[in-house]
Structures are given as structure tokens and as C-alpha cells.
């Protein structure tokens, strides 16, 4: 669900654009580490230098994987009742390549779509990146990270696909509501049901696709191992909680928003809600910033000891 321009209020898109910058920087930097040293491998000074010398061999891989996302979205899955769904791919990429790499690939996809294919707004790019490339991917990876070993593995992958799509959609809805786009109760209900169905479809497709990939080469799917565990859990939970709180708030009082909309900006109720939403986004931003900082320090310390 790409938000076009013209829907989000300037305060919302500006905040989210600013918030997306450190998040993307974090993902890109982390991706650099992940592909060369999968999951927690201790790197020594020599290896570090060798990695720098190897340069950016991951860049072709990330680019082609972005093209893979487009291609995979073209494949139709019959989901009964004569309708068909398709993969979104955030959770699948996160499980196969690791969350940071997946977030980078999805960011590249979204930038290309916004500027070259006019799919999703240019000003709303920060919002779309945070919804789908950051929150969607991290939330999709979280269940796999927690329960991705042993008997619960398939369930974890399914849950990852489900959560990934649902969190993205909830965040998009929250942003639209915060911007004052009216959402009558019935529309909210219908879209909620649609999100649920989409989530279930994405979960089922993700499980089937991961199995198909593993059948060809088990090495292509990363084993679930802790990678900066606590930070990721905190970030993903913050994103999910934020989305759910926003949705709960807005569905609790849709009429207030409705009436607020007919005379935009005037009633204090609307302002309250906007402030609340922005505060939530601010918390998310602070969290991401913290992660980026912490990661940078970690990296510096390692380079210093080398």
C-alpha cells in the first residue's frame, strides 16, 4: 500500500521523511556487515580489512534481489473464491537475507517506484519507507528471530509474513488518520478485514516460498540466529505498538475525526490526536536514532581495537 502525495499533512510527511533518514542509514550500514559476516560471526582485524578491500560485492546482489521483489510480486497465487493474491516480499527477504539487507533492498525498490514509476508519493517517500521497508521488514523478521528454530519454524515464518503486512498497513492507516483523512467506521472495518486477509495470504505464501527456496538450496535461507537481538525486538515492538495504539485510538473515536475533518484543524480534539500521533512517531524516531548511534559506537569501538 503505497501512500501517494496529497494525502498526508505536511507535518506528518516532513516528520516521517526526517525519521526515515537515520533508519535507512542504519539499515544500509548494517547490511554491509550482514552479508559478509552472516549472523554474529566474530570478525578480526585482518578480516575487516579484507572485507573493505573486497569492496561492494553485495551491491549487485542487492540490486538483483530488488528486481526479484518486482518479479515475485507478479506471480499470482490462487487464494480461493476465484481471486488471487500476490507476495509483498518483505518478510521473505528478511528471512532469506537478514533484516538489514532486506530493509535496504525494499528501500531501493520504494525509491525507484516513487521517482521512476510514480508508485507512491515523493513527499510521502519517508512514510512509505518507514511503513514497508523498515517497520514491515523488522516486524516480519521478529517472529522468525524469536521462534525460527525447531518445531515452531513454519509457524514463525507464517506469523512473520502476517505481521509484516499488517504492521505496514496499520502504520499507513494511522498516518492517514493523523493527517486528517476521514475514515468512516465502516470503511475502517472493511479495510481492517482486508488487511487481515492480506496478512493471512502473505503468511501462507511466505511459508510456501521459503520451503521452495530451501528445497533448492538450504544455504540460501539464513538460520535464525540472534543479530543485535534486543535492539531489533525493541524497535519492532515499538513500531507494532505504535501502529496498534494509533489504530485503536482512531477506531475508538472515528466520529470525532469525522467531524474534525469537515472543519479541518479547528477542534482541539483533532489537534490532540495529531500531537499524539506525532509524539508516537517521535518515540519511534528516537528509538531508531538510538539504534543507529549504538551501532555506530559499536562499530567505532571495533575499529579502534583493530
Amino acid at each position: 500500500m503505497h501512500i501517494p502525495d496529497g494525502f498526508l499533512s505536511p507535518a506528518v510527511w516532513a516528520t516521517l521523511d526526517v525519521a526515515a533518514v537515520p533508519a535507512v542509514a542504519w539499515a544500509a550500514r548494517q547490511a554491509q556487515n550482514d552479508l559478509e559476516h552472516p549472523a554474529g560471526a566474530k570478525s578480526r582485524a585482518g578480516e575487516d580489512r579484507q572485507r573493505e578491500a573486497q569492496g561492494d560485492r553485495r551491491i549487485p546482489l542487492l540490486g538483483v534481489m530488488g528486481a526479484f521483489v518486482f518479479a515475485a510480486q507478479m506471480v499470482n497465487f490462487p487464494v480461493g473464491l476465484g481471486t488471487s493474491g500476490h507476495l509483498v516480499g518483505g518478510a521473505l527477504l528478511a528471512i532469506a537475507l537478514g533484516p538489514a539487507t532486506a530493509a535496504t533492498v525494499m528501500t531501493a525498490v520504494l525509491i525507484l517506484q516513487a521517482f521512476i514509476l510514480q508508485d507512491g508519493g515523493v513527499m510521502a517517500l519517508g512514510a512509505n519507507i518507514l511503513n514497508m521497508a523498515i517497520a514491515g521488514v523488522l516486524a516480519g523478521y521478529l517472529p522468525y528471530h524469536l521462534w525460527g528454530r525447531g518445531r515452531t519454524r513454519s509457524a514463525a515464518i507464517f506469523l512473520g509474513g502476517f505481521v509484516s503486512v499488517t504492521v505496514s498497513a496499520c502504520m499507513a492507516m494511522t498516518e492517514l488518520l493523523t493527517s486528517g483523512v476521514p475514515m468512516p467506521r465502516r470503511l475502517l472495518l472493511i479495510s481492517g478485514l482486508l488487511f487481515l486477509a492480506n496478512g493471512l495470504i502473505e503468511g501462507a505464501i511466505t511459508v510456501a516460498a521459503v520451503r521452495a527456496i530451501e528445497r533448492m538450496n538450504p544455504g540460501w535461507v539464513r538460520a535464525a540466529e540472534p543479530v543485535h537481538a534486543r535492539m531489533m525486538i525493541v524497535t519492532a515492538l515499538a513500531a507494532a505498538a505504535l501502529a496498534c495504539v494509533g489504530l485503536a485510538l482512531s477506531s475508538a473515536a472515528p466520529d470525532a475525526i469525522q467531524s474534525a475533518l469537515s472543519i479541518r484543524g479547528a477542534p482541539p480534539g483533532w489537534l490532540n490526536k495529531a500531537a499524539l500521533g506525532l509524539a508516537g512517531m517521535g518515540i519511534l524516531y528516537a528509538g531508531l536514532l538510538l539504534v543507529a548511534r549504538r551501532f555506530a559506537r559499536h562499530r567505532l569501538a571495533r575499529q579502534g581495537s583493530a
Binding site: G63, A67, F115, W220
Partner: protein
């Protein structure tokens, strides 16, 4: 099978290789003008009146029409492509209308349509690789720009492959026309086949990336991507930028 992104994009890419005065302007200037336009559009208040709204959004539209004329782009296909956004807008516009704000509904539709049209003009008057170089001047990290370049180059290769994989799967399992006879079983089988197709695509993409990297090494790749040569920002580009910013601000502030 959904349409590959390429089918709709082919036109835009053809248009972007034109030779009009707008095509000749530096992409950075066009990007700056676009950002100013979008910001002005987004911050246009919609609290006044029908007449005011008609004037101001009409004026923005005229600005964009002028840009299309300067770029010598085909008007109707451009407008048609810009309506791609309308399904999404219509849902929310109808909701706004339903909520008792018909003017808000029209403003919403107008804003999203004009935004898409403006972005489309940039994409249709600038080759995409140069557009990405312009993004680099906005401090989009260079590795990310490089990833997008690879993505753009292999987009059609991989999506074509997806079309082939799906066609092959359909040929093997027979026409989907018979699915009604045994919906459940056949549906499950087709679901598995589609998952298999995604798996095959993943595998081929992975191998392709490996092959690309080896080919780069074979051609003397040293692990270092040369930065594009800095392009001069001519007086003409500065003139275009200031003129379009002035026109946008005039509409935004005067009307």
C-alpha cells in the same frame, strides 16, 4: 499474471530520451523545482472557497501543462498515465465526500493527481540514470544509488524471466480453465506451483547476481565504483530553477 512494470513504463522511458529544452535542463534543477512544487501544493490551505480552490489548482495545472508543452511530451498519454493514482484517491475522496466534505474530496483528488503529474513530468523528461545522479546530490547514500542502478538495469531481465517461469508452469499443469471442476485440489496445486516459481526466481536471481559480480571481476573491477563526473550547473539551469520556483510561489502566495 499482473502486468510487468515494464509494459507501462516503456513509454516513459522512451519519452525521457527526447531532445526538448526541458530535457536539456540539468536534472538537479528539475528535481529542485519538483520539490518546491510539491511542497507548495501540499501546504496550500483548502479552507477558503470553491472559487478560490478552482483558481489555485487550475493555476497549478496550467504550470504543469506549460512544462509538458515545453518538453514536447504527448499530452493525453501523460494525463492518462497520471490517472494511475486515481483508484487509491477515489476511495478516500469518496470517504471524505461521505463524511460531508465534498470540497475536501475534490481537493484531495486534485492534490494527488497534480503531484503524480509533476513527478511524471520529471521522469518523462530525464533519463532515469541521470535522475539517480541528481538524487545523489540530495545526499542519498551512494551505495543505495548503486543498488537502485543495478535494480533498474535488471528489472526487466528478471521480470521477463518471471513471465517465462509462469508460462512454463501453466504449460505443464494445463489450462486454469478446468479449475472449477476441482477447485480445492487444483487450487492447492497451483498455489504450490506459484510458490515453486517464486523459489526458482529467487535461485536464478541469486545465481545471476553471482554471475554479474564475476563478470565485473573479469573485466577488471577493483571493488571501487567510480563516481560520475561532476556536471557543470549552467546559467540556463539556474534560470530554469529560479523561474519555476518563482512561478510556483506566485501561484501559492498570490492566489
Amino acid at each position: 499474471m499482473r502486468h510487468a512494470p515494464g509494459f507501462q513504463h516503456a513509454n516513459v522511458e522512451g519519452w525521457s530520451r527526447g531532445t526538448s529544452p526541458l530535457h536539456a535542463v540539468d536534472p538537479r534543477a528539475k528535481l529542485g523545482a519538483l520539490l518546491v512544487f510539491l511542497t507548495a501544493l501540499a501546504t496550500t490551505s483548502d479552507r477558503v472557497s470553491w472559487i478560490h480552490d478552482t483558481w489555485i489548482y487550475g493555476a497549478y495545472f496550467v504550470l504543469l501543462l506549460a512544462a509538458i508543452a515545453i518538453a514536447r511530451l504527448p499530452l493525453l498519454p501523460m494525463l492518462g498515465r497520471a490517472t494511475l493514482v486515481l483508484p487509491f484517491s477515489t476511495v478516500f475522496a469518496l470517504a471524505t465526500w461521505w463524511a460531508g466534505n465534498p470540497r475536501g474530496a475534490l481537493v484531495l483528488a486534485a492534490k494527488s493527481f497534480l503531484s503524480v503529474l509533476a513527478t511524471l513530468i520529471l521522469a518523462a523528461s530525464t533519463p532515469w540514470v541521470r535522475l539517480l545522479d541528481a538524487l545523489a546530490t540530495l545526499h542519498v547514500p551512494r551505495p543505495l544509488i548503486l543498488v537502485i542502478q543495478f535494480l533498474g538495469r535488471y528489472l526487466f531481465v528478471v521480470t521477463d524471466q518471471a513471465a517465462q517461469v509462469m508460462l512454463a508452469a501453466q504449460s505443464r499443469q494445463g489450462a486454469s480453465r478446468h479449475q472449477r471442476l476441482d477447485p480445492c485440489k487444483n487450487g492447492a496445486r497451483r498455489f504450490q506451483a506459484a510458490a515453486g516459481a517464486v523459489g526458482v526466481l529467487f535461485a536464478r536471481s541469486w545465481e545471476r547476481a553471482d554471475g554479474i559480480y564475476r563478470a565485473m571481476l573479469a573485466r577488471g573491477f577493483t571493488g571501487y565504483y567510480p563516481a560520475p563526473a561532476p556536471r557543470p550547473f549552467h546559467a540556463r539551469d539556474a534560470a530554469f530553477l529560479s523561474l519555476s520556483v518563482a512561478a510556483t510561489l506566485a501561484v501559492r502566495l498570490a492566489l
